[in-house]
């Protein structure tokens, strides 16, 4: 919820910038746009009517306001979101002719260039944007990463340092700078940069991997072997609101799935349930559609129906990890809802099967932890949540928060609170860490720290206002964290 608000906030803020700049920098109304033309649908190979409709609609907006850079920008975004990268680049160029300071268009053009297999052009676009002072931490981080890919270590270092300057707690920036240091043989600098992250209570396996890599390259093999994760880390995924916003514009079956997932996540069950049912009926054999429908039924309280669909699918795909862990999660929620614990051993079996099939997934460990927690097996639950947190501490499963919570339940209050503090620092806008931290502070009589937290939420400005209200409600009701709900579609 908060994440979505953040995206809207960024988009709204940039939109305001468009309007300001349109007055100051755009060409006059009489000035012609060179080579501007909308998309000729007949020239591109469109595979689904939904995409055709989406682009036709954006075309119409451009035709109605051909001097409006935002209309062109919107058309470009729709093309890019639907895989038409070359066309998107051309359209972004047109929007930039009208409004050169349209930084988002430049950034998304660079992304489209990269998606179209033009990595050098993509870096050039971002470099020009950076030199014009038009980037933010997200764009600088992309420039650093892409420059590294092309072996331009000087540009990568500059961009990584700018990323850190713009956002000092950006782990992506630190990771990229460490990569530059490793590539250039400045190994002690890499270690110094990464050490604070490696010493944290909840560690990030990718940063561990980089640290161990620096040690290994430095010939410190024994130390490296101690730090190097046993299995390769999950790839880091740093947030990118511009790209996340693009996913809303994808059309076709994957887009329909995503839209339905979004409705479900937003609690719009009246929209999600019928659409999910329709997708399930129309695409038999699709595990993604089956899972989505089952989750919609689950959220409607129809646990038996949801479980029936998941178990039917599991008959056909007995080793599908998402089907396994979703079935385990639904069984556990049903047990919590009815108080009937009889199904929990079966849920545990399913969750353990999911871990066996996909041990590198935070979801499988997260659900196993939740089942164990429901069974009161706190030590085992702690282990499972720790696995989940190691794989991806920033995942929607919020496993560091769960680790902190279970530690407190085990009586290891100081350790648990320390982890919760870190989780809050890492994701200050996420609901679960802050609420859990607040509730546990209250439950453990840490009034001074609770006051400090509430003060921070009050002083944080409007961006924290929703969160503050939620925390206040939670404190009043004694609410804690919920069972994790996973609606992501692994199959797509």
């Amino acid at each position: 919820m908060i994440r979505a608000d953040t995206i809207s906030f960024v988009v709204a803020r940039t939109g305001l910038a468009f309007i300001v700049c349109l007055c100051a920098c755009g060409p006059g109304p009489e000035e012609p746009i060179s080579q501007a033309s909308t998309i000729d649908i007949s020239e591109i190979q469109l595979q689904t009517p939904a995409i055709l409709e989406a682009i036709t609609e954006a075309n119409r907006l451009v035709e109605a306001a051909p001097q409006d850079p935002n209309a062109w920008f919107e058309l470009g975004r729709r093309l890019q979101a639907n895989g038409l990268y070359i066309e998107a680049i051309r359209i972004y160029d047109t929007s930039l002719e009208l409004l050169p300071s349209l930084h988002q268009a430049n950034y998304l053009k660079a992304v489209a260039q990269r998606q179209a297999g033009q990595p050098q052009a993509a870096v050039s676009t971002l470099k020009a944007l950076s030199e014009a002072g038009g980037t933010d931490a997200v764009m600088e981080r992309a420039l650093a990463g892409w420059s590294l890919d092309l072996g331009d270590l000087g540009s990568a270092e500059t961009a990584a340092q700018r990323t850190i300057e713009l956002e000092s707690n950006c782990r992506g920036g630190h990771a990229l700078l460490a990569r530059v240091y490793i590539e250039t043989g400045r190994l002690s600098e890499a270690c110094t940069l990464l050490e604070p992250f490696v010493q944290r209570a909840v560690r990030h396996r990718y940063l561990d991997f980089l640290y161990a890599t620096a040690l290994m390259k430095d010939g410190r093999r024994d130390e490296a072997m101690k730090i190097m994760p046993g299995t390769p880390p999950a790839p880091p995924s740093w947030p990118d609101p511009y790209l996340e916003a693009l996913t809303d514009l994808a059309a076709g079956f994957p887009a329909a799935l995503q839209e339905t997932r979004d409705w479900l996540n937003a609690g719009k069950l009246e929209l999600a349930l019928p659409r999910a049912g329709e997708l399930y009926q129309n695409t038999p054999g699709s595990p993604a559609a089956a899972i989505l429908y089952a989750l919609s039924l689950r959220d409607s309280g129809r646990f038996d129906d949801a479980l029936g669909i998941l178990m039917d699918e599991l008959d056909h795909r007995p080793q599908h990890p998402e089907l396994l862990y979703q079935a385990a999660a639904v069984m556990t929620m049903a047990a919590q809802s009815t108080g009937n614990q009889a199904q929990l051993p079966a849920a545990l079996e399913l969750s353990e099967a999911a871990v066996e099939v996909d041990p590198g997934s935070y979801q499988t460990h997260g659900v196993r932890g939740a089942v164990l927690l429901s069974m009161g097996r706190l030590d085992k639950a702690l282990e499972a949540f720790q696995h989940c947190a190691e794989i991806d501490p920033l995942s929607p499963a919020q496993c560091p928060t769960k680790v902190g919570n279970v530690l407190i339940m085990l009586g290891r209050v100081d350790e648990g609170l320390a982890i919760l503090v870190e989780a809050v620092e890492q994701q200050p806008l996420e609901v679960a860490p802050t609420i859990t931290y607040a509730v546990q502070l209250k439950a453990n009589g840490r009034q001074q720290e609770l006051d400090a937290l509430m003060l921070r939420l009050r002083d944080g400005g409007s961006v924290f206002s929703d969160l503050r209200a939620m925390v206040e409600r939670a404190l009043a009701s004694g609410e804690t964290i919920e069972m994790p709900k996973f609606t992501g579609g692994a199959s797509d």
Binding site: T48, A81, P119, R221, A234, G252, H316
Partner: protein, 570 residues
């Protein structure tokens, strides 16, 4: 063998002898043909001219089953012991109906053209074929064939006269999975060739997933959608054509993967052959040989498992070469479009990624690369790089009228140890070079002393690419054999050319799903021909051979100076 099958084989041998002696009357040698057409391309497709009509059917049925993306095994081998290279091509076909498959083909080379002799050869196989590997499984000095299938694999024992005998069952190689490649090597130094077999995933139609491209159309899935990675297999050669599965006890099956590429050679510098396995969207492996047929993966520690960006890559073909003449093998693993290659310089206990500085990425990155093979096509003394490409996912920009997955192959000329530039006229006209290509096999097909290439293409005729590159120097060929007379896989040749120390390993399994000729081709550029070569055989015996007379030089153990117990030069 029954009496009737023996009779059939004798008859087949007689037929082979009868048809093998003369080619079609209109056959013309390659060089005059090239001169006639005025072609300036380095590699000219002469498949039709040379009588190779094989069309690889990848089994496309509109259901986007992931196996369809992989077939493409090619093997160049001397199946009839006449010194020139014959051609074995692996066929896939219908996933549902084995009876509808046309089966693998064996083409005999008479020096001018190829003739399909599979039905007389005993190497027929209508399994759903993916890859081919060559080696001497029975130590009789005659090359044998291993065919990787979706389903039961096959081991064909070569009889030396273009005939083969299916010895799969008696050899103990009863594999029945999704095998994507294999390689022979003497892993324990006992003189016989052990076998490594790659597996992709556990697959059946019930496991097939549904995936969509960004435009909402059905498309092939990434392997992560299946989540059933499979362990690879390691077989110890016990002699007498018996193999023992030691995957578990060797440690080799500890880490399942989605394997597509394999290379076997000493990476770590301890003279024991190690095993490089590239995995599709899973970490690549570097199985270090600990001795005693025990293996331990050190890819993550040595920086060859994943990118420094933390991302697993879609690993496909692999090749090894000592690009910087420091006596260790550097490594190239190629990937899907959008991902840089893993072009790794071996610095001893660590790999440094040279992808960006090599110049290769600018050309390769937009393409989905299946095979990558180093070879000195123009004899300038530097290794060039040939890359076979073809998409595995739908893209809006179409490069071929007939095949939406087709892409142009790449040929890059080595201009410095870690620097490559594209060859402008590499393959001739677009209609013959934009294909969905998979495996590459290298060898001197026309016997003119340079390396030619055979490339498999999905749903198109195979490309038989004859080398017509303008030469920048002379070359020599070194043919290193083991004591049985077969290719000395795993032997390492060290020699000095133009002041540089060269290291060349005798290998056949290279690139993707394919087997090249074992002979070492060495371009000399401006340098004088070397006078001697030091060879370390797989049992660690080291001999120095004088290179006297005309190339090719045939080297056998015991005919050189030595043996010494360790390499003379490090």
């Amino acid at each position: 063998m029954t009496l009737s099958s023996l009779t059939v084989r004798v008859l087949c041998a007689a037929l082979l002898t009868a048809i093998g002696c003369s080619g079609p009357k209109n056959m013309t040698p390659s060089e005059p043909e090239a001169a006639k057409t005025g072609s300036e391309a380095w590699l000219v497709d002469e498949a039709a001219l040379r009588g190779v009509d094989f069309l690889l059917d990848n089994g496309y049925s509109g259901r986007f089953a992931i196996p369809e993306t992989f077939p493409g095994g090619v093997a160049l081998l001397d199946a009839d012991s006449d010194g020139d290279l014959d051609l074995y091509l692996v066929q896939a076909g219908s996933l549902d109906d084995e009876g509808a498959r046309s089966g693998n083909r064996l083409y005999r080379n008479d020096g001018h053209g190829f003739f399909d002799v599979v039905e007389f050869s005993g190497a027929e196989d209508t399994g759903w074929g993916i890859a081919a590997a060559t080696g001497d499984a029975d130590g009789d000095g005659i090359i044998d064939l291993y065919v990787s299938n979706l389903g039961a694999d096959r081991l064909f024992r070569g009889l030396g006269d273009c005939r083969f005998e299916d010895v799969t069952v008696e050899s103990g190689l009863n594999l029945d999975g999704f095998s994507t490649g294999a390689g022979f090597a003497d892993l324990d130094g006992d003189g016989d060739q052990d076998l490594v077999v790659l597996n992709y995933i556990i697959w059946s139609w019930a496991h097939e997933a549904e995936c969509y491209n960004p435009q909402g159309g059905r498309d092939y899935c990434a392997p992560s959608n299946y989540a059933y990675p499979e362990s690879d297999h390691l077989f110890e050669n016990l002699g007498d054509l018996h193999f023992k599965d030691i995957s578990e006890v060797s440690g080799f099956s500890d880490l399942p993967g989605t394997a597509l590429g394999i290379a076997i050679a000493d990476i770590s510098g301890d003279s024991l052959p190690d095993i490089v396995v590239s995995n599709d969207r899973m970490p690549d492996r570097l199985w270090l040989n600990q001795g005693g047929l025990r293996f331990f993966d050190e890819a993550l520690l040595r920086n060859s498992a994943i990118g420094l960006n933390g991302k697993v890559r879609a690993g496909m073909g692999v090749d090894l070469a000592d690009l910087d003449h420091d006596d260790d093998l550097d490594q190239l693993v190629v990937h899907i479009a959008g991902e840089a290659d893993a072009f790794l310089r071996n610095d001893g206990s660590w790999f440094s990624d040279q992808s960006a500085v090599s110049g290769v990425g600018s050309y390769s990155r937009p393409r989905t690369r299946f095979s990558a093979n180093f070879a000195d096509f123009d004899h300038d003394g530097r290794l060039d790089l040939m890359i076979a490409t073809g998409r595995v996912e739908w893209k809006p920009e179409r490069l071929s009228e007939t095949d939406i997955y087709a892409e142009p192959n790449l040929l890059l000329r080595g201009v410095a140890p870690w620097r490559f530039e594209p060859v402008e006229q590499a393959f001739g006209p677009p209609e013959t070079r934009i294909r969905s290509a998979r495996g590459i096999a290298l060898g001197d097909i026309d016997g003119d002393g340079d390396l030619d290439a055979v490339v498999s293409n999905h749903n198109e005729r195979v490309s038989v690419l004859i080398n017509q590159a303008p030469k920048r120097g002379e070359s020599i060929i070194i043919d290193i054999r083991g004591s049985s007379g077969g290719p000395a896989l795993g032997a390492v040749a060290r020699l000095e050319v133009g002041g540089q120390n060269l290291r060349l390993d005798v290998r056949t399994t290279r690139g993707f799903a394919s087997a090249s000729d074992h002979r070492l081709h060495i371009g000399l550029g401006d340098a004088e021909a070397p006078r001697s070569v030091e060879v370390t055989f797989s049992n660690q015996d080291c001999e120095v051979f004088e290179l006297e007379g005309e190339s090719p030089f045939l080297l056998k153990p015991g005919s050189g100076l030595g043996p010494f117990s360790a390499p003379v030069v490090q």
